[in-house]
Amino acid sequence: MQSKVKVLVLRSPGTNCDAETALAFQQAGATTEFVHINRLLESPQLIDEYQIMCFPGGFSYGDDIGAGRILASQVGHFLFQTVSSFRDAGKLVLGICNGFQVLIKTGLLVPPDESGFPVTLTWNDSGRYTCRWVTLRSANNNCVFLRDIDLLYLPVAHAEGRFVTRDEKALARLIDGKCVALRYVNPDGSNGTVPFPANPNGSDNNIAGICDSTGHVFGLMPHPERHMHPTQHPRWTREGLAETADGFKLFQNAVAHFA
């Protein structure tokens, strides 16, 4: 049976997690289509056919100048209204890794205030690209994607994933506004002090994912699409094959939102 939920998986030069992200949505019951940013810039109304828009991971435009910067400039300059209306229509937007960087740098997730953008994603504390698995805890807010999810075990793979807020006030505003959706925690699930490598990049307040005030726009640095099959778990040969993989529920939540 063909699902009614249609997902737009955005491609741009340098997008490279598009195929597995589309597959994750398909496995969760959606139909997916790849749309190149050039098509969307030509015909923004294309977006109306879809219920979910996804900015997948990768290195859009090579991350030249800064991660997600150029794609954010294009979306921010030419498509801001389009994506805002999409969200206002009760539809969902997901940004993974580079997609999260794009959403942050367009202001779609955390709008600018009188002093500009209050948050950004910048270089890891280590100064290097890092690929490793992390434990995450959902903040139990109204994020649609994280409904009924407590802990997640997912890989991160990025150089510029340190979430930084301009000051304490900006951070407090995010927390109070229930915008902090996902945090790095220690392997045993405990929070509080979460040192490297549990917090792999030095993010403020251990923040790994953010949603907007509606809970419909969500961005995260870790890759849920890379934990859809039990053999992707780094220790499946020790701990046995799990029945489901952690990333699955996140995509299922998104699709179920339209059921």
Binding site: N16, N38, R226, Q232
Partner: protein, 1003 residues
């Protein structure tokens, strides 16, 4: 500090009508850490360039356009800087500027600017320029730079720091002090002029001069052959004709040495090869395919850009490993960058285009702890080479979105002037796209990157010897890649393939268009309109266009009726496609520029005209291969220390610093990762991925390399390397009846008969063992003449040859990935079995290395026994009888079990008396017996962890193979090996893990 800024390359024209040039300088904001500065300070101390360096860094963007300061600040905020963490300064650097409009840097501290040289890829500048124009800014030019502010360093020390650490002269230029730039446009024009080379009248010395001065790397006899050919044609060649021949005949493109005639002499007499590779390595594959008959699973071997084998009936796997040694010696970042970019293009250019699914990389460096004084002149410090090479692979592979899943690093001081960089790429190719055939009449179409002067003479340069002056003379052969251009090519290539829009494709590698068109049109003929090739900048001559090795270009054969659709597809994703010629059934390569013929070469002369030179090769058993082990002082050896030092040796030590910088999860197919175990940090034997995400069929990737054994006997180095690569694959669960292997020979100067002889001996060994193991070679690549020459302090000419280095890469297949095993111990109480025979084989071992011992027998391979062992081991794994499996390699039994223990977080107790040593003799002391049992590096051995329930079944499964239950997994995190005289080794996991993890745990 000089105040006059010179920007020698961008030709400064004094013209008052030019728009102003602005500098946007971005520094970490107050309170934010300057990470780059910290890293440089640490490196400067490490390289003994400066202690406690006081340095600050900035990213710089130079913009030319009719802007006022506020506009530039707005642009900077919009695109360049992250105001949450960064500060911006904007000021003018062009003439007559009102500097009060912006910030003006003071003269102190000393300022160092580093710019990419003109023509060197600056992807940031290109991307920023395009985006600013898209946003509507009338911007005329843009360049990027890095800025460094340094305090308290004398002028000489400053310049040394700038040239040795902050910049690389091969691709970058340094400007000290204040910048003064009038314009960012550079002007270059060239007048068309047809050049003929008076070859017909040339005597030998003149022929040699022409080859040398033209950078052609052609030998005298080759030059004579070319001369005679043109004498027959009754005309002199044009420069482009001579270049075309030089490119095609280059070692890099034609493998003229190994695929040529060789007279080989060893203890069995003389053997004449007409084509050495064909009669050894290829012949092994032919034998295996014939034996397999209808079960032959090879699809295309040694003919396309990569070898192709069947995977699941519908799909094939492709595999190719390339070397990129010479460029990496001079500019390690760019060399490694374009090395991985190049081998990915090999995958894209295999059949009608395979989809890359994973990368591998193997490096050989001198020890990163080498002191600056110990280095010969003209070489970069090995630590800097290593950091830059890793960064180069990382930045390209990660951007391409291809997981880098397997690799190795070897250290030996002889790699000091010639580091080796092996880059591999595995592809997935639907069966129906496995073959290509361009047709006469098809357009020749180039897509992707534009052509520039970069990489001119890369093919001929990579065939020449390196000297301390190479950095100066070979700059043109060094390039920087732009991964996103290649990713865009990949994206459209696969769509065009699936829509049937072309008949053939190949990559532009060494030799550029010359090689790509020459190879594709070999059996047809082609006309090429060189003036139509899209250029990065004006001023290239027709010959430069033809041989440029600019990156990220692919060449297609596109039928006329498909061109519109092909072009539209490319345009829709902003990829440039250009018709540059047409295949024509003339049998000739016809080169044109502006409607004028600049060259005509017969394909037959190009591909078959090379003179058949007979090279001499000789193998004499060296002194090392017969020497008795040096047994003086053996009693004094501390075994615990030996184990720790082996674990800490560069070859064995954890490579997590490298592995974690690579994305090994992208494409979501990872099954067995490079790091495994309870804390995800133990050393996996091989990587396993799922190429098709809807299937449980897997591909296993591993490698084997033993340069130390080659110092004793290249035969046993070759067989040991094959055995290691195959057993690594088998250890994770690959089916030994479906393992394909690749060879990469990196050798010294093969015009020396002894050097060539050692290579032939290795090739003969490869042939014999491949047939015995039924592991076909499917592709390979060699790199010869890896020697570095320099003049020492006493004025004597010195040459350093690399150790003969054979890399064997293996591509295995796993029928059901849920049966895969990892090497970490799983639970206390399980039995540990040693599978395979232990011989007294400590020659070339790491035990000898860390204890500075010489001599000893080199490990050998019993082919038929190895084959049986692999099949029976696989049966046991396939029946899920094995909880953990690790191969025994560098450091032998003790090292393998120690790794299993600390990776799994369990202890292990080994009763050494249970380890049977073949051919025990009475003149062996108990101490020597311990050394052999603990550290012998005998091949075809595994340690298996087996549960009590599966013990009997496991033993039955391995009937006929020598196995021994040598110990148990314990709960105490202590690794202990004992015999009747007590504990030989006793150490905690924590100590051992620290020894293994700390040496390369770089920050």
């Amino acid at each position: 500090m000089g105040q006059t800024a010179t920007d020698s390359s961008s030709q400064i024209t004094r013209n008052n009508t030019l728009s102003p040039v602005w500098m946007v300088e971005i520094t970490p904001a107050a309170g934010c850490i300057d990470r780059l500065a910290n890293e440089i300070a640490a490196d400067a101390a490490e390289l003994q360039l400066a202690e406690m360096l006081n340095i600050q860094t900035a990213r710089g963007f130079l913009l030319q356009g009719d802007f006022v300061c506020e506009q530039v600040v707005a642009i900077a905020k919009k695109l360049f800087a992250e105001p949450v963490v960064e500060s911006i300064r904007v000021y003018l650097v062009s003439d007559g500027a009102d500097n009060t409009a912006g910030f003006m840097p003071s003269d102190e501290p000393a300022t160092v600017h580093v710019f990419p040289k003109p023509g060197v890829t600056d992807s940031q500048a290109g991307t920023a320029l395009r985006e600013l124009r898209a946003l509507g800014y009338a911007i005329e030019g843009l360049r990027t730079c890095r800025k460094y502010f340094i305090q308290g360093l004398a002028d000489k020390a400053l310049r040394q720091l700038a040239t040795r650490l902050l910049s690389n002269d091969a691709i970058e230029q340094v400007v000290y002090g204040r910048l003064h730039i009038q314009t960012l446009q550079h002007q270059g024009t060239s007048q068309f002029q047809l050049v003929r080379i008076p070859l017909r009248s040339a005597e030998n010395s003149e022929l040699e001069r022409i080859s040398r001065e033209g950078g052609l790397s052609l030998t005298l006899i080759e030059m004579q052959t070319i001369r005679d050919h043109f004498v027959e044609l009754k005309r002199d060649p044009t420069d482009i004709e001579l270049e075309t021949v030089a490119q095609t005949w280059s070692e890099h493109c034609s493998h003229k040495t190994l695929a040529g005639r060789i007279a080989y002499r060893d203890e069995q007499g003389v053997r004449i090869f007409d084509n050495m590779l064909r009669e050894t390595i290829f012949a092994a594959t032919q034998t295996i395919r014939t034996e397999l008959g209808d079960d032959d699973w090879c699809v295309s071997v040694f003919r396309d850009n990569a070898g192709i084998v069947d995977f699941d009936g519908d799909n094939c796997l492709t595999f190719k490993v390339e070397t990129h040694n010479r460029p990496s010696a001079i500019e390690p970042y760019g060399g490694a960058n374009t090395g991985i970019g190049g081998v990915i293009r090999d995958t894209l250019g295999t059949g009608l285009g395979a989809r890359p699914i994973c990368n591998t990389d193997v490096f050989c460096f001198a020890e990163p702890t080498s002191s600056m004084e110990s280095l010969p002149p003209g070489v970069l410090h090995p630590r800097r080479i290593m950091k830059s090479v890793v960064a180069g692979v990382r930045d390209y592979g990660n951007r391409m979105g291809i997981p880098t899943v397997n690799g190795a690093v070897y250290f030996d001081s002889r790699y000091v002037g010639n580091p080796l960089v092996f880059c591999g790429s595995v592809g997935l190719l639907p069966r129906q796209y496995a073959f290509k055939q361009p047709q006469a009449g098809d357009y020749i179409v180039t897509i992707g990157g534009r052509t520039g002067r970069d990489g001119i003479h890369g093919a001929t340069f990579s065939s020449a010897e390196l000297t301390e002056h190479s950095e100066v003379t070979s700059g043109g052969a060094v390039q920087i890649g732009n991964a996103i251009t290649e990713k865009m090519v990949l994206d459209v290539l696969l769509q065009a393939r699936d829509r049937g829009l072309f008949t053939a494709v190949t990559d532009c590698g060494a030799g550029g268009f010359s090689s790509a068109v020459g190879e594709m049109g070999e059996t047809i003929g082609a006309v090429v309109w060189l003036d139509r090739a899209p250029l990065k900048y004006d001023g290239l001559s027709y010959t430069e266009v033809w041989i440029s090795e600019a990156q990220e270009r692919m060449v297609f054969a596109v039928p006329h009726d498909k061109w519109d659709e092909f072009n539209a597809l490319c345009e829709s994703e902003s990829v440039e496609a250009t018709i540059i010629g047409q295949f024509e059934a003339t049998g000739h390569l016809h080169l044109m520029f502006n409607d004028e013929t600049v060259g005509t070469v017969a394909m037959s002369f190009l591909h078959d005209g090379r003179p058949k030179v007979v090279r001499n090769a000789v193998w004499n058993a060296g002194p090392l291969s017969t020497s008795k082990p040096d047994t003086t002082n053996v009693k004094k050896i501390d075994l615990n220390k030996s184990l720790q030092r082996i674990l800490s040796s560069g070859n064995v030590a954890s490579k997590h610093w490298i592995i974690r910088q690579y994305d090994h999860e992208v494409l979501a197919g990872s099954v067995i990762k490079p790091l495994v175990g309870v804390l995800n940090d133990g050393p996996s034997d091989a990587a396993v991925i799922r190429p098709v995400l809807t299937s449980n069929r897997g591909a296993a990737i591993s490698c084997g390399m033993n340069p130390y054994f080659g110092d004793i006997d290249p035969w046993h180095m070759a067989t040991s390397s094959i055995d290691e690569a195959v057993r690594n694959c088998v250890a994770v669960g690959a089916n030994p009846s479906r393992i394909a292997i690749l060879d990469n020979f990196c050798w010294g100067y093969t015009d020396r008969p002894e050097t060539l002889g050692s290579l032939v001996r290795a090739a003969l060994a490869c042939q014999e063992l491949a047939i015995q193991l039924k592991t076909p070679f499917i592709s390979g690549k060699d790199s010869l003449n890896n020697e570095f020459s320099y003049t020492d302090d006493a004025g004597n000419r010195q040459t350093i040859s690399i150790p003969s280095t054979l890399l064997i890469s293996a591509l295995g297949q796993v029928d059901d990935i849920t049966k895969c095993v990892t090497m970490d111990l799983k639970s206390a109480g399980n039995s540990l079995f040693l599978v395979g025979l232990t011989h007294n084989e400590l020659g070339g071992s790491h035990f000898h290395l860390v204890n500075s011992l010489a001599g000893g027998e080199v490990p050998k391979v019993d082919g038929p026994l190895a084959s049986r062992t692999f099949y029976q081991m696989h049966r046991a794994i396939n029946l899920r009888l094995v909880r953990a499996c690790h191969d025994l390699s560098e450091g032998g039994l003790a090292t393998a079990v120690a790794e299993m223990a600390f990776a799994g977080g369990f202890g292990a107790e080994i009763d050494l008396a249970k380890v049977v040593v073949v051919g025990q003799s009475n003149d062996r002391t108990p101490e020597q017996l311990r050394h052999i049992r603990l550290f012998s590096e005998s091949n075809t051995r595994f340690i298996c962890e087996v549960t009590p329930e599966n013990r009997a079944a496991f033993v039955e499964c391995l009937e006929g193979i020598s196995i021994a239950e040598i110990g148990k997994v314990t709960n105490n995190e202590v690794f202990r090996c004992f015999d009747s005289s007590g504990d030989a080794i006793k150490a905690t996991n924590a100590e051992l893990k620290h020894a293994w993890q700390s040496p390369l745990d770089w920050t």
